[in-house]
Amino acid sequence: MSTPAASIPAAPDSTLGRLRAVTQDWIVNEGQRWIFVVKTLVAAFLALWIAFLLGFDSPRSAMITVFIVALPSSGMALEKGVYRLLGTLAGCAAALAIVGLFPQQPMLLFLALAIWVALCTSGAALMRNARSYGFVLAGYTACMIALPAIDMPTQVFNLAVARVTEISLGILCSALLNDALFPKHQSEQLVQTVRSLYSNFAQLCHDAMHGRLTDEQMERLHLRFATEVAALEANRAAASFEAGDVRTRSQQLHAFNSAAMVTLTTFHTLHRLMQRLRQRGELRVPQAMAPLFDAFSDALLVTDTPARTAAEAGMTRERLAEFRQRLPQLVATARRDFAQQANSPQQLDLDTALELMQRLQQEFADLIAIYHELPGRLTARPERGAANWSYSPKTPGVIALVAGLRAAAALLVLALAWYGLNWPSAGGAVILTVVFCALASSSPFPEQMIRSTTEGFVLAIPFAFVCAFYMLNHVEGYLMLVLSMAPFLAASIYATTWRRTLGIGTGFNLMFAQIIAPENMMRFNVANFFNDSIAQIVGLVLAVLMFALILPEHRQGSRRHIAEALWGETLRLCFGERPQMRQHFESRVRDLLNQLSMGMRGPASAAVRLTLNQAIVLLELGHAILDLRALQARWPAAHAVRAAQENCIAALAAYLRQPLPIRHAQALAATTVAANTLRAHQAHGLIGLDEAATLQRSLTDLHLIGASLQDPSLQAFAAESRITEGSLSHAS
């Protein structure tokens, strides 16, 4: 990307120069927006024109599809288009099956539809990426086809074919225009994301090692990191639909993402260890570690900032290699200085810190190697193959399930009401409610999302009225139709390019195309116009009602569910057996943190900060548990050391399953017992060099587990869950 500042001529005070600067600024900012407007308009009217030419039943569907798929970058537009097409196909198949099974029984048909919608909406709420859009589509397309077919089951096949044809026409037009005409590449965005992820991360390490970050800043940076990790994955998924080599680099990008997550956790564990010691006023270990920190954080810098590009990362890589060679010497110096004034309890802290430092150095070197090799030739790519876990968002199951139930309940209640009411336009209301119950289920603020769309819908009605009954009735020919509709649409598409008016603009577009309903033989019927527009608004209002009435607490970003999921994930580490547990755990926790930050408005409340702290402590705890389990497998089956470690893990699992104070005390006691057993074994002295190293590392892990268990935020969760249980028992 070219920076506008660089191309401003040297004499900015001359009128011509200023004019040029202003023009360039306009091209960079406003020009992009207007290109988008023109692209979307051309695609929409192209789709409409082809639909007219081929005599489709409802040409507006093609046009509406173009508006829905219109996204700023071509990768995102292609991705959404592909999933929309797949979802439509699945939905049509489901509708055909359901109508085929229950052609004469509306009640059974509604039930079957509700189950299908519940399944699809749950899937959509579970995923929260572009795929979830496909699920939403599969759900409501089935409704769109099956509901009108109740009175005429024999027509269902034609309805399905018409729907698929219109949608695919819209998608083809939109893909053609978006990808071929002034494309804005998602891959450029992806490069920016990778760069900012790395440089923010390195800056964080550097600042924290120099003690420049407060705890509060650190928490905020953690949340931001989780958001960046999620953004990287979303960008990668969208960019892989573009022409280019992002697809073949997926493995590398996944590796980069998970390496960054693992490294941050190690770094944070080290940082917390130092902070805890400082808070207790024990400054000897931090002082002994200070030269290592200085050397490491200096190695991270290129001139005075961290590497901004993959090329600059090469320099960091060399400096880290240098640091690695100096590390044994630095460690020895630190140990010697410390030994002169030692007392034994702090010895363990120093050992732990040094062990973590070595791990951090190793992981950072891996990370920087991946980063440096990212833009390289693919042939030179080392085969990391299946060694990577890909980050994928996943909502806590309960929330997804509730989203499905909500959509199903909305469909059942409204469909029955419609069946009884006999209002011809109510079908539209039912479908729209289902659509928005499904669409908004992946948003943490569903009411807000639906409200802004409703505003767009309401705003569109008077304009559509003017356009339909004062302009379109004088129109002859397609060009005139374009001229009379385009000004309204151009304004609203322009509104969608601003984040604040995105929802309103989209709502306006959809409603405008929907109620004007351009067709070859235009029908001008004021009664229908108002019936339809009222039905659409009613549908949206009902969707908001559904969110407010049916389990309103179970939504995306709900703090309580996230906290529970965090404990569950950590519990799984105690007995799960699967490859790459570490990466999986990391990505799950980051995903949950991302959900937490999605559900936040403004600064974090005390409760959110508590959950965030728990997440961080659980990350540390989880890593220590995994490491301990890996080490424990090296001992023979009935060995005393192994038995002690197994007991410790079992006690931890019991605590994680049910965080009661008594379990907490038991887990802490088991940790101490295990540490004592290990130390006794160490004192025997009858062990080999390998075994001694394993013992030392296990002791480090046990020390970390003990330190994490004593963190106040974990006990706070226990208190909190006890209160909830207490209130439940009161209620029952």
Partner: protein, 65 residues
């Protein structure tokens, strides 16, 4: 080549089948192009990819008709 093919009793335009087939082919060719860095030597990768699709579809359709 008949204009329409009966698939499970449904009449389908045979060009549609050809189109689906060429899209499938195109996905493979596109993957290969990405894998071997062809797109780095192309001025407008997206347009190039579109033209590839048109060529594949045209070639297949002409072969059949």
């Amino acid at each position: 080549m008949p204009r329409e093919i009966a698939l499970f009793g449904i009449l389908m335009p045979s060009l549609l089948l050809v189109f689906v087939l060429s899209v499938a082919l195109h996905v493979g060719v596109d993957w290969l192009c990405g894998r071997f860095g062809v797109y780095r030597h192309v001025w407008h990768p997206a347009l190039f990819r579109l033209c590839l699709l048109v060529c594949i579809f045209g070639a297949l359709a002409l072969m059949l008709y």
